[in-house]
């Protein structure tokens, strides 16, 4: 693969204290990261529409299974801390990447993956549990909004897991260079973002519904 022009470090002074990180060393790399932030802006708005739907339908349980009977805060807390820790470990992976330790970086990404899969497992368990109690996508407007919002987030997490696996393979094959470092950094941004969305799910979906019950 051909590399595009390297950025002259003297041209820009955006990393004054340290050497320019690998992922920012090419012009394409820098623009990829910038472009990904634009994408995250769109994702925020996408999720806001789902949150808006949930808020509007928050009492529309059609007198069927109530969320207050089903929401299990213990499980929700476990999911919250699993995802939060995975966000932390993917940050540590980037920290190691910037120190040039490809091996340690891959270990942290591996831990992130395990935690991500654990989160998905708990979410699937929760959904199956809810479905067995009679709360499905078709039960009531409330549960439709709930499963749509949580499901969209869950699909994002699943995609993040697949993304990290592909990146691990690529780094194993090609080593750390400006291109693979750039991809890893962007995947970690995506992963952190999923945790940011989860903060609002924790607060706006679970806590809010139980508080106003």
């Amino acid at each position: 693969m051909r590399m595009d022009n390297k950025i002259d470090p003297k041209e820009l002074e955006d990393f004054p204290d340290e050497e320019r990180p690998l992922e920012y060393q090419t012009e394409t790399g820098s623009l990829n990261i910038f472009g990904f932030w634009m994408f995250l802006g769109a994702e925020i708005v996408l999720f806001s529409a789902l949150f808006g739907t949930y808020f509007v339908l928050i009492f529309r349980t059609d007198s069927s299974v109530l969320p207050t009977e089903l929401f299990d805060m213990g499980l929700v807390l476990a999911m919250t801390f699993t995802l939060l820790t995975s966000s932390f470990t993917s940050g540590l992976a980037i920290n190691e990447m910037r120190l040039g330790n490809a091996r340690r970086m891959m270990i942290w990404i591996g831990i992130t993956l395990v935690l991500g899969l654990g989160f998905l497992g708990m979410e699937i368990y929760e959904f199956v549990e809810f479905a067995s109690e009679g709360a499905t996508l078709a039960t009531s407007a409330f549960w439709s909004a709930f499963f749509l919002l949580l499901g969209t987030h869950g699909v994002h997490v699943a995609m993040g897991v697949a993304w990290f696996i592909i990146i691990l393979i690529q780094i194993k094959m090609r080593g750390l260079n400006p291109v693979t470092a750039n991809k890893t950094f962007i995947a970690s941004l995506y992963w952190h973002f999923l945790d940011v969305i989860w903060i609002f799910i924790f607060t706006g979906v679970y806590l809010l519904r139980l508080v106003i019950a």
Binding site: L12, D14, F15, E18, E19, L22, Y24, S30, I33, F34, W37, M38, L40, G41, A42, I44, V45, F47, S48, A49, F51, G52, T53, F55, V56, I58, F59, T61, M73, L77, F81, L84, T85, S87, F88, G91, L92, N95, R98, L99, G100, G175, L176, N177, P178, L189, H192, F193, D195, V196, I199, F200, F202, T203, G204, L207, L208, L210, V211, I212
Partner: protein
């Protein structure tokens, strides 16, 4: 391929990440406590827990994601703030416009 790893290899402890992680845990637990164990009114609780959520989101954007770094940092921060503004307008605006249908007696 190039192996232009960073020259600064001295033990860089990831302080930002650790601070972000610990404060996220604390903020989550505080929100939980306010929601279930405090004596505030429901309205106050809702305002407080959402404020904590926004603080935690900002912390993670800055501590974990380094939103403000690089020459595009300012544009990135501006873009995310604008997205957050649109998000609040969409979510809160939907709620506000539809409020007549949310608090029907038989649902309370």
């Amino acid at each position: 391929m190039s192996n232009g790893t960073a020259a600064t290899k001295k033990g860089h402890f990831p302080w930002k990440h650790v601070v972000g992680f610990i404060s996220s845990i604390v903020l989550t637990l505080v929100a939980l406590w306010i929601a279930f164990y405090s004596a505030f009114s429901v309205r106050t609780i809702i305002v407080l827990i959402f404020s904590l959520a926004f603080i935690q989101a900002a912390l993670q954007l800055l501590m974990f994601m380094h939103m403000a770094e690089s020459s595009n940092g300012r544009i990135q921060v501006g873009h995310i703030l604008f997205s957050a503004f649109v998000a609040i307008v969409v979510a809160l605006g939907s709620y506000w416009v539809m409020e007549f249908g949310i608090h029907l007696e038989h649902h309370m």
